[in-house]
C-alpha cells in the first residue's frame, strides 16, 4: 500500500467521524452508522414484528380454538399497523434509543444538535418511515392490482418513491428523510469489552530489538499488529511476522507469537514515549 492510498483510506474513515464535544470539552468523535448496518437493523425489526404477529395469532387461535377467518384478518391488519407504527417509536423512546434490530447492530439514534433526543423527534422520524418504506411497496401493489394506469406512470411512481427510500445514500451523514425532518442521526454505539492489556505481562525470554529496528513503523502499523495479536490466527501471525522480519532483516529464529509480542511491546513503548514528548508518528511513511 502506498502512502497516498493509506492517506485516502484514513480520510475515508475520518469522513464518517463527526465531532461531538460534550459540555466537559471532550470530543466523543461519534461515528455515523453505515447504510448496511441500518438495513440489517430494519430487516431484524420487520422480522421480529412479523414473528410477534404470528405468535399472537396462534395464541388467539389456541384460546378461541376455531376462530372465524375475519378475526385473523383483523389481527393482522390492526396488529401490523399498530406494531409497525409503535414498535420503532416505543423502543427508540427508551434510554438506549434503539430498536432491538439497532441494538443488535450496535447503533442508536442521537439528536443532531447534541441535545436530548425528544419524543417528538422520535415520532417524526418514524412516521416518515411510512413514506419511505411502504410507499414504494404500495406503488408496486397498486401497479400490480390495476392495469388501468399505464406502465410508465407506475414506473415513474416507483422511481420517485425509491429516491425517497434511498435518500440516505445521497448525503454525507447517512440521514433518512425522517432523520432530516426530525433533526436526528444514527451513530455507532456498540459496547466494546475491555480486553486484557497484552503489553502488561512481564517480559520473560523477550527478544531485544535495536532502536533502528523499531524505527521503521508508526502508530497505524502498531495498531494493526495489535489486531493480529488479539485475533490469534496462526496463519495471519506467520504472515505478519515474516513481513516484519524481512523489513528489519532478522532471520527466522523464534516462535512467531513470541517474536510478535516482543516487537509489539517494544514498539509500543517507543511510540508512547514519543507521545509524551509530543511526537505522534501516524504511520511508517511519516518522518520521525
Amino acid at each position: 500500500m502506498t502512502a497516498a492510498q493509506n492517506a485516502k483510506l484514513r480520510t475515508a474513515q475520518a469522513k464518517k467521524i463527526r465531532e461531538f464535544v460534550t459540555p466537559e470539552g471532550v470530543d466523543l468523535q461519534l461515528r455515523i452508522a453505515s447504510s448496511g448496518l441500518r438495513l440489517g437493523a430494519l430487516i431484524v425489526d420487520l422480522t421480529a414484528i412479523t414473528v410477534t404477529l404470528f405468535i399472537f395469532n396462534l395464541l388467539v387461535d389456541w384460546i378461541g380454538h376455531a376462530t372465524p377467518r375475519d378475526v385473523t384478518f383483523v389481527i393482522w391488519m390492526l396488529g401490523a399497523f399498530i406494531l409497525r407504527t409503535f414498535w420503532f417509536i416505543g423502543f427508540e423512546l427508551s434510554s438506549r434509543a434503539a430498536t432491538p434490530g439497532k441494538r443488535m447492530m450496535g447503533i442508536r439514534v442521537v439528536a443532531r444538535d447534541g441535545g436530548r433526543l425528544t419524543a417528538d423527534a422520535v415520532v417524526a422520524r418514524n412516521l416518515i418511515r411510512e413514506l419511505e418504506l411502504f410507499l414504494p411497496l404500495m406503488m408496486l401493489g397498486v401497479g400490480a392490482a390495476e392495469d388501468m394506469v399505464s406502465g410508465w406512470t407506475i414506473l415513474a411512481g416507483v422511481i420517485w418513491s425509491l429516491t425517497l427510500s434511498l435518500f440516505l445514500l445521497f448525503n454525507r451523514d447517512r440521514m433518512r428523510m425522517g432523520d432530516l425532518i426530525a433533526g436526528t442521526w444514527v451513530v455507532m454505539a456498540a459496547r466494546v469489552k475491555l480486553d486484557s492489556d497484552i503489553a502488561a505481562a512481564a517480559e520473560a525470554g523477550a527478544i531485544r530489538f535495536a532502536d533502528a529496528e523499531l524505527a521503521v513503523y508508526g502508530i497505524y502499523e502498531l495498531q494493526e499488529l495489535e489486531r493480529i495479536l488479539r485475533g490469534r490466527d496462526p496463519r495471519a501471525m506467520r504472515e505478519v511476522a515474516d513481513t516484519i522480519r524481512a523489513k528489519i532483516g532478522r532471520p527466522v529464529a523464534e516462535e512467531d507469537d513470541v517474536f510478535l509480542l516482543s516487537y509489539y511491546r517494544q514498539l509500543k513503548a517507543r511510540l508512547e514515549r514519543g507521545l509524551l514528548f509530543g511526537k505522534r508518528r501516524e504511520d511508517k511513511y511519516a518522518s520521525e
Binding site: T85, D120, A121, V123, A189, V192, R208, A210, E272
Partner: protein, 340 residues
C-alpha cells in the same frame, strides 16, 4: 537507552490505577439501561456523574498517551454510552407523558392554526366541488368513489338500502354484525390512519401532495353527501357522519396541517438554515401527529361502538358536536403556561 526500559509514565500503570472506576461505571450504566433510574440507590445516582467524569478524563489522557487500541475503543464506547445517559434522561417517562397531554400537544396544535385553517378550507373546497357536480349529474359519482369503498352505495341503490347502511334499527345493526362489520371498521381505521400519516409525511415535498390528498378526501365525502341528500336522506347521513366525523375530519385536517408546516419550512426557511428549519417544523409536527393518531383511535371507537349503539340521528348530532367542542376547547383555550 534500551527499548525495553519502561518510561516513567506507563500506560499499564495508568490502566491499573483507573480500571476499577471504568468497571464500576460500566456496571451502573448497564443497570440503568436495563431497568431505569429506579434500579439505582441514591448513593449510586450520586456516584454516576463522578464516575462519568472520571471516565471522560481517562479518555482524554489515554488519547494523549496510550496507543492500546482496545483500551481506547473501550473508553470511547463507555464515554458515549455515559454521555447519553447522564445528559439524556432528565425526566421520568410519566412526567413526560403528563407534560405532553397538559401542554405540549395543545401548544403544538395551536402553533399550526394557520395551516389547519388552510387545510380545512381545502377539504371544504373538495366537498363543495364533488357535491355540486354529483348533485347536477349523479353519473359523476362513479368518478369520485371507488367501487370497493362504496359497498353498493351508489346512485342506483334504493332509498331503503341507503337507509339501512346508515344503521337505523335493530335489524340493520344485526345485519351489519353478520356482514363482518368489524373487519370493515378495522379496515377504515387503518386506512384513515395511513392516509393521515401519508399526508403528513408527504408534506416535505413543498406540501403539494398533502393538499392534493386532503382535497381528494373532501371529494369522496362530498360525493357521498350529494348522493344521500339527493334521495332525501341528507339529515340522516349527516348524523351518521357527524358522530365520529367531527373527530376524524379534525384529525385529518391536523395531519395535513402538520405536513404543510414541514413543506412551508422547506420552502421558506427564513433566517435559519433549511435543515434547521425543517427539523424545527418536524418536531412540532411530530407532536401534532401523536395527537392525530390518538384522535383517530377515538374516532374509531365512536365509529365502531357509538354508531352501533346510538341510532337516533339527533343524538348522533349531539355527540358529534360535543366531541368537536371538547377538542376545540382542549386545543384553543389559553393556558396559564402560555403567560409564563
Amino acid at each position: 537507552m534500551s527499548a525495553a526500559e519502561l518510561p516513567g509514565f506507563s500506560t499499564s500503570r495508568f490502566r491499573a490505577e483507573r480500571e476499577a472506576d471504568w468497571i464500576a461505571f460500566d456496571l451502573l450504566l448497564t443497570r440503568l439501561e436495563k431497568k431505569g433510574a429506579a434500579a439505582l440507590t441514591s448513593d449510586e445516582l450520586l456516584q454516576l456523574p463522578i464516575l462519568y467524569r472520571a471516565t471522560l478524563s481517562s479518555l482524554s489522557i489515554a488519547r494523549a498517551t496510550s496507543l492500546d487500541k482496545a483500551l481506547l475503543d473501550h473508553l470511547e464506547a463507555l464515554s458515549i454510552r455515559g454521555y447519553f445517559l447522564v445528559y439524556g434522561v432528565r425526566e421520568t417517562r410519566l412526567s413526560r407523558i403528563r407534560r405532553f397531554f397538559r401542554y405540549d400537544w395543545p401548544a403544538a396544535v395551536r402553533a399550526l392554526w394557520k395551516e389547519t385553517l388552510i387545510i380545512a378550507l381545502i377539504i371544504t373546497l373538495g366537498v363543495a366541488t364533488s357535491y355540486s357536480l354529483v348533485a347536477s349529474n349523479p353519473e359523476w359519482y362513479y368518478n369520485f368513489v371507488p367501487e370497493e369503498m362504496s359497498g353498493g352505495r351508489d346512485p342506483h341503490a334504493t332509498v331503503e338500502f341507503l337507509r339501512s347502511t346508515l344503521g337505523h334499527g335493530k335489524e340493520a345493526a344485526a345485519d351489519e354484525q353478520q356482514s363482518g362489520l368489524h373487519v370493515f371498521a378495522t379496515y377504515l381505521f387503518t386506512h384513515n390512519s395511513q392516509v393521515s400519516i401519508l399526508s403528513f409525511a408527504l408534506g416535505f415535498a413543498f406540501g403539494v401532495p398533502t393538499m392534493m390528498l386532503e382535497y381528494y378526501q373532501g371529494i369522496g365525502l362530498g360525493a357521498m353527501l350529494a348522493l344521500f341528500a339527493g334521495k332525501g336522506l341528507g339529515v340522516d347521513f349527516g348524523g351518521w357522519l357527524f358522530i365520529h366525523g367531527t373527530t376524524e375530519l379534525f384529525a385529518a385536517a391536523l395531519s395535513g396541517a402538520a405536513g404543510l408546516r414541514i413543506g412551508a419550512a422547506v420552502v421558506f426557511p427564513g433566517a435559519r438554515g433549511r435543515l434547521e428549519a425543517a427539523s424545527d417544523a418536524g418536531r412540532t409536527a411530530g407532536k401534532v401527529m401523536v395527537g392525530v393518531i390518538l384522535m383517530l383511535l377515538v374516532a374509531g371507537v365512536l365509529e365502531g361502538f357509538g354508531r352501533q349503539l346510538i341510532t337516533d340521528t339527533m343524538l348522533r348530532y349531539a355527540i358529534g358536536t360535543v366531541m368537536l367542542l371538547v377538542w376545540l376547547a382542549y386545543y384553543y383555550i389559553p393556558r396559564r403556561e402560555d403567560v409564563a
